[in-house]
């Protein structure tokens, strides 16, 4: 996983609430056995018409947002399914940070596993950033994870909160599994205790 430290880039405004995972990546594109290559299908129904041509009115089909690295949206971003294809598609497109008033829980979790930073900021602040982003090519936003600030194009700094453990993993690009495996002793102990206290717990075989 890539480290997330400081990101400066174009921010694309998507002022919609309840952007669901079917909207981010429709189910018909989940028939892949790889993580890569999903960016072209990101927001498929919003981005392309029924003949597969780009809809010029959709933000990611416009300059400078074609190369957006930050997305700003409204409430409950990422609701719906658990598909990690949603953050994979965002990342494959180039988006490494999503800013919204709040996120659906599973999507929020999935972002961290892929080096994407979800930033929770109040709706009024998101709307301010959306206004900023409409300024076009000069509207570059910086997200500094170490200092926990979003820096507006005018230089104003906005602080955001983040779970310290997740911050640590993102800053260092650390793999969760490796972290957990350092606690193998505790896990062995738990399994032994479970076996002793709940010998009735069935195991599975077909």
């Amino acid at each position: 996983m890539e480290k997330f430290t400081v990101l400066t880039g174009a921010a694309a405004p998507l002022p919609l609430a309840n952007v669901d995972t079917d909207k981010i990546i429709p189910a018909r594109f989940l028939k892949t056995i790889k993580r890569s290559g999903l960016g072209v299908h990101l927001f498929d129904a919003l981005r392309y018409d029924k003949d597969g041509k780009e809809r010029p009115d959709f933000v990611l089909n416009q300059e400078p947002y074609r190369k957006a690295e930050i997305l700003i949206a409204h409430e409950n971003f990422g609701c719906g399914s658990s598909r990690e294809h949603a953050p994979w598609a965002l990342l494959d497109f180039g988006i490494k940070c999503v800013i919204a008033p709040d996120f659906a829980d599973i999507f929020h979790n999935n972002c961290f596993k892929n080096g994407i930073l979800p930033v929770r900021l109040p709706r009024a602040v998101c709307d301010q950033l959306i206004d900023d982003s409409k300024l076009g090519g000069n509207a570059r936003v910086t997200v500094d994870l170490e200092r926990q600030v979003v820096i507006r194009p005018n230089g104003e700094e906005i602080r955001f909160e983040i779970d310290p453990f997740r911050k640590h993993l993102l800053l260092n690009g650390l793999d969760d599994i490796g972290q957990t495996m350092q606690h193998a002793g505790a896990l062995d102990g738990y399994e032994a205790k479970r076996q002793a206290e709940q010998p009735w717990q069935p195991t599975l075989s077909v």
Binding site: A17, A27, N76, N109
Partner: protein
């Protein structure tokens, strides 16, 4: 946490599974059951392979293909190449990593959230995960069950644990007898209509109250299944005699002395008197009517006697834009009566409503009636065992005689990953869980309803109040 402090059902199950609490409060949580399917697992197995890791506990894992297999002619194999590759990949992976697997042509095959409880794989008090958001279904048994992403699937495979911060406790209480013509689906749609699609974010919802207690296990699973549509990753219902009667005797459930030990433990799980919930919501069953969604998220729901809402009273600009887009996408005009909306397709099935009780409810309405002309009606049982039982009970024949298509079990038209899809502009009465844009096919218009309401729509050709059909 001191032993004397009253705890909720969620607190008890959580506490019993904490392997280690890290400095910042994140917990390493032991997972009792990991259910695996073909869509969200290939990249996880690939990750294990690349890191040279094995499954820590294949004996607590079970795999089945359910999302994109055909509902017709499956003995001849899967025609769609990308779907076939995904299933073949699962079949190779379960051999390589020694994972118990239920093959496609086995009677026990079915939707992962139907077969978990049905085979006694899911049990009260367990932690259960799957790379699918409707894993919340299994919470109906009093398990802590939630959907995870593929990275977490890999994490569970490698360590049999997850890194999690505790969720908050939310209680949704429904009281009173269910009115005639309503079912668990109407209860959960009414709940989502009340608290909204983000109402449960960050929480586990415990469903309480005599309405919930009065539901059979199938109904409880329908309610728990759609918890995720209210934003909560997990829903839970305290295990009681209804639960124990359901679990006893199932294939993988404990037997004999082990059953008695398990039962004693499960009886200790219900929420203690005086336990505190972070948030509580109360509903009265008497206020619930047969529901139909009109928009493109499940909170956009009205009673079947209602009308399509307009923009009046919606002041927030984003919310106005969203509602206007919903109306346009769904091809609706504010003020239209729901019962005036004609349907093109009816889908009965899914992990929400694909159990035998759901098919019985649909057949009770369909019996002696015919599917309206021009309507395509599809019934997809949730599992091979449900299908077999429905055939033995004569339910399948009733539905076939009425003009319904009778199919092989899988997720099917709930998300259109297999050939069962609706076309652009088609209106579908569906017993599934999501009415998102394009969910059942590009441009398709989904209305969520209960099985009896779906059958009523099929035989009348439009949304109809099932209470008037008798």
């Amino acid at each position: 946490m001191s032993a004397s402090k009253p705890r909720t059902l969620f607190d008890k199950v959580w506490d019993a599974h904490v392997v280690e609490r890290l400095e910042d409060g994140t917990c390493i949580l032991f997972i009792d059951r990991h259910l695996v399917h073909e869509v969200t697992s290939p990249q996880a197995f690939e990750g294990l392979r690349m890191a040279g890791r094995k499954l820590r506990r294949p004996d607590l894992t079970i795999a089945v293909a359910d999302h994109n297999i055909p509902t017709l002619g499956r003995a001849q194999g899967i025609k769609e190449e990308d779907s076939r590759i995904q299933v073949e990949t699962l079949e190779k992976n379960v051999v390589e990593f020694d994972v118990p697997y239920i093959p496609i042509l086995d009677d026990r095959q079915g939707i992962v959230h139907i077969i978990g409880p049905e085979l006694g794989i899911s049990l009260p008090g367990q932690t259960l995960v799957c790379g699918d958001s409707h894993t919340s279904t299994h919470g109906a048994l009093g398990a802590l069950a939630f959907g995870i992403g593929t990275s977490e699937v890999e994490h569970v495979m490698a360590t049999q644990t997850l890194l999690q911060s505790p969720m908050k406790n939310m209680r949704v209480d429904v009281s009173g007898g269910l009115p005639f013509g309503t079912s668990a689906k109407d209860v959960v749609l009414a709940i989502i209509g009340k608290i909204g699609t983000a109402g449960g974010n960050g929480h586990v919802i415990e469903f309480t109250g005599d309405t919930i207690r009065g539901l059979d296990m199938a109904g409880r699973m329908t309610v728990s299944n759609m918890t995720i549509e209210a934003g909560a990753r997990a829903g839970m219902i305290a295990p009681d005699q209804t639960t124990f009667d359901y679990v006893q005797g199932r294939d993988y459930a404990p037997k004999g002395a082990a059953w008695d030990q398990a039962l004693a433990y499960w009886k200790s799980l219900p929420t203690d008197a005086g336990a505190v919930y972070d948030k509580s919501v109360f509903l009265t069953a008497a206020d619930i009517a047969p529901m139909v969604t009109w928009g493109t998220n499940p909170e956009a729901v009205v009673p079947v006697t209602g009308v399509v809402p307009g923009l009046d009273g919606v002041t927030d600009e984003g919310a106005r834009t969203q509602r206007a887009r919903m109306l346009e996408y769904m091809g609706l005009t504010p003020g239209q009566k729901m019962t005036d909306l004609k349907v093109d397709v009816v889908f009965i099935g899914s992990c929400t409503n694909g159990r035998i009780e759901d098919l019985r409810a649909a057949a009770a309405v369909a019996k002696g009636r015919k599917v309206a002309s021009g309507v395509r009606a599809l019934v997809v049982p949730g599992s091979g065992l449900v299908k077999k039982q429905a055939e033995q009970e004569g339910i399948a024949q009733i539905l076939i005689d009425s003009g319904f298509e009778w199919r092989e079990p899988c997720c099917s038209m709930c998300l259109g990953m297999n050939p069962d899809k609706i076309s652009a502009g088609q209106r579908c009465a569906s017993t599934s869980n999501r009415n998102f844009e394009g969910r059942q096919g590009i441009g398709g218009r989904t209305h969520l309803v209960s099985p009896s309401m779906a059958a009523a729509a099929a035989v009348t050709g439009h949304f109809a109040d099932v209470r008037e059909l008798g």
